[in-house]
């Protein structure tokens, strides 16, 4: 039963915790007449200094990765040359007889900004940059794919409900029950072994594709569950009911009424999913089923770094630090995005 004043509405959770929604939300419209939720979010986000800083860091990672060839042109190195072994560079030795980098911090020098790789003497700076490029763009691709899949499946389940939802739910459960990591180990080699002519080298893009497929197949469930539950609760809301009664087509309802309301959880989930995908890709490399030499790969660099850790800690230090900073910033960014969308969640 709606009492006449009910329209006043959403201020039901009046502040036990007053920095919560009601005051802010009630306060705002006066000043910022007609702001969309997106604009509001942006407003809040911009005020969050940690968030802005992390966003800056994350974006710069992507820019650096994208511009890897340009930046390595500056350093004058590339990730493929064996500086320690190549006769061309014999006059500038970078490795000792044990194959360990000469000089300080794993061979940091004017030429090799982050030092060189033990044994071969490849340039770590270039390897890291190109490796980040591989990992970041793979992760971006995988995450995008699984967000799209998850959203679609979640929408279908949540919107249609009933039988459809039941079966979608079962399928999701099925995929969730897969022992993922075991599956990766057992089947990445199988997947890459498909369709490749033994005369030809397994192309890198094919490996990328295989990783993409495997991660995608076993990665969309979290997103699907999230979207499903959000949509399920939205479905019961008045405005959706109203749209239904007014005869809007399901597609229209989904597009105009539901999607805009699930954008924020999706975006939040996306910012959490991306770093975790990077770590999963790194896991594949760790287990020896990811990208292979000489394709520069962040995860493999990290794993190899751990191997040289005792003798050449710098080799683990740079990629490791880069990864930790990146994941940390991305997680903080995720928190900020979540807070911006939903200031209630609080920090």
């Amino acid at each position: 039963m709606t009492s006449p004043t009910k329209a006043e509405g959403s201020g039901s959770t009046v502040a036990l915790d007053p920095d919560l929604a009601s005051t802010t939300e009630v306060a705002k419209p006066k000043k910022l007449e007609g702001r969309s939720p997106g604009q509001l979010m942006w407003q809040r986000f911009r005020r969050d200094r940690t968030g802005m800083f992390c966003a800056g860091v994350v974006i710069s990672y992507f820019v650096i990765a994208l511009l890897a060839p340009v930046i390595t042109a500056l350093s004058g190195t590339n990730p493929y040359t064996l500086y320690g072994q190549d006769p061309t560079y014999a006059d500038q030795p970078v490795l000792d007889d044990f194959g360990l980098p000469l000089g300080y911090l794993g061979g940091v020098s004017g030429e090799h900004w982050f030092g060189v790789e033990p044994q071969y003497g490849r340039d770590l700076f270039a390897m890291l940059l190109y490796g980040m490029r591989t990992s970041l763009f793979m992760a971006l691709g995988v995450t995008t794919l699984l967000v799209i899949t998850g959203v679609t499946i979640g929408l279908i389940g949540g919107y249609f409900g009933g039988r459809t939802d039941y079966w979608v739910g079962r399928i999701t459960d099925f995929f969730l029950s897969f022992p993922q990591q075991l599956f990766f180990i057992a089947f990445m080699p199988v997947v890459t072994a498909f369709f490749v002519d033994p005369r030809e080298e397994t192309p890198t893009y094919f490996r990328a594709l295989a990783i993409l497929i495997v991660l995608w197949l076993l990665g969309w469930m979290g997103m699907a569950r999230l979207v499903r539950s959000t949509v399920l609760s939205l479905r019961e809301r008045e405005f959706v009911e109203a749209a239904k009664v007014s005869g809007a087509s399901p597609w229209r309802i989904v597009r105009k009424e539901i999607l805009p309301n699930v954008v924020s959880p999706i975006l939040v989930q996306f910012t959490y999913q991306l770093p975790s995908t990077i770590l999963t890709i790194a896991f594949l490399s760790f287990a020896g089923v990811g990208f292979v030499e000489p394709t520069p790969d962040w995860g493999r660099l990290f794993a190899a770094g751990a191997k040289y850790a005792e003798q050449d800690p710098a080799f683990m230090f740079f990629p490791g630090l880069a990864l930790v900073v990146f994941v940390l910033c991305f997680n903080l960014l995720g928190d900020s995005v979540r807070d911006a969308f939903d200031p209630k969640s609080g920090r």
């Binding site: 039963m1 009492s3 006449p4 004043t5 009910k6 006043e8 509405g9 201020g11 039901s12 009046v14 502040a15 036990l16 915790d17 007053p18 920095d19 009601s22 005051t23 802010t24 009630v26 306060a27 705002k28 419209p29 006066k30 000043k31 809040r44 005020r47 200031p343």
Partner: protein, 353 residues
């Protein structure tokens, strides 16, 4: 039920002998967006056995005021100034321990939404018994007897059996009754009812209101009744406080305020209410504009941006000078008493009748 007949003629409340006395209360939250002055210099009194109604829009500070009385504000982000005296005890400066002893015992609160205000994880019986056991040192058995008794009193059938039910097994009305029973477990002297009936349908609403009145008569409880439903207020309250932007803008007995309101905002409120006996062809007149930002309240009279009568006041007093609220029957407005009278009779009353 929405007539204005049942009001009492009690005089405007006066300070010292009041059971609850709030003086110059200021509540501020620091938020990311800045300082929110949720309550800004509020004073009122409530006597034993009487009901004070508080009306106002959302965000006008009603709920915050009452949470502050109970001490349920977040101490981390909130600063409270002024004084709240309950039966001679100062509450603003009281320690958490002291407040705990008072809460649920001397003062209790009925919350707005029975759906969320009861914990879904414990049985209704347990939630009822807890405060009784704590405040009265009662045994489990005694607490259960008391709870069953209270449940029966608020009209829950088969209270013995429902005692072990979870809130989700109750209907909305029953949950609200259970809330009321819970608030009354320890015979509180002060009962704050924050829109206790908003979420309920009309018949249940009436039952609940009757119940509250009966209980008040029986126990002599002082009640603060928050609502934005003027119909309910006219039925329940003895005195009325109209709040706007964290301040009281008008005060008086229910009868006076509803019969002859003196503040433009009160006029607006009354005009925007539909009446059962009103002309159905008559258009409702909403108050123009939106509630003010408490982060950055308007200068002078906070209502001036929405006030249709600010031109009647000389010069720019409305925008520059904050009108004060006098003791007793009063309104915080720069209009003179005559102006108010004239405007009300000429322009407002026709709309209401």
């Amino acid at each position: 039920m929405t007539t204005l007949t049942k009001t009492s003629d009690a005089p405007a409340p006066t300070g010292p002998e009041s059971f609850l006395s709030v003086r110059d209360l200021k509540v501020q939250f620091s938020t990311e967006d800045g300082i929110v002055k949720a309550v800004d210099g509020l004073s009122f009194d409530v006597e034993r056995g009487k009901t004070l109604g508080i009306v106002g829009e959302s965000g006008s500070g009603k709920s915050v005021t009452n949470l502050t009385i109970l001490g349920l504000h977040n101490p981390r982000t909130t600063t409270v100034d002024g004084e709240i005296v309950l039966d001679g005890k100062e509450l603003v400066t009281a320690t958490e321990k002291e407040l705990e002893k008072l809460r649920g015992n001397n003062m209790a609160m009925i919350f707005q939404d029975p759906l969320t205000a009861l914990s879904p994880y414990y049985t209704v019986g347990r939630q009822l018994s807890e405060p009784f056991m704590k405040h009265n040192g009662a045994s489990k058995k005694e607490a259960k007897d008391r709870a069953v008794q209270m449940l029966e009193k608020v009209g829950i059938p088969q209270p013995e059996m429902r005692f072990d039910d979870y809130p989700h097994q109750f209907s909305g009305g029953m949950r609200q009754r259970a809330m009321i029973a819970m608030a009354l477990m320890c015979d509180p002297d002060l009962l704050i009812a924050d829109e206790p009936t908003t979420a309920l349908d009309v018949t249940v609403q009436a039952q609940i209101l009757d119940l509250l009145k009966d209980l008040q008569q029986e126990f002599g409880t002082a009640i603060i009744f928050i609502t934005h439903d003027l119909g309910v207020i006219s039925n329940m309250a003895d005195d009325l406080l109209v709040m706007y932007a964290g301040r009281a803008v008008e005060r008086g007995s229910v009868r006076d305020v509803l019969r002859s309101p003196m503040h433009p905002y009160s006029w607006g409120l009354l005009s925007s209410m539909p009446r059962l006996d009103g002309n159905i062809h008559e258009e409702l007149t909403p108050i123009p504009g939106t509630p003010p930002s408490l982060l950055n309240p308007p200068s002078g009279c906070p209502f001036h941006p929405r006030c249709a009568f600010k031109d009647e006041v000389e010069g720019s007093r409305c925008t520059d000078e904050r009108p004060s609220l006098a003791e007793g029957r009063a309104a915080a407005c720069h209009l003179t008493a005559e102006q108010k009278q004239t405007i009300f009779i000429d322009q407002i009353q026709p709309r209401l009748r």
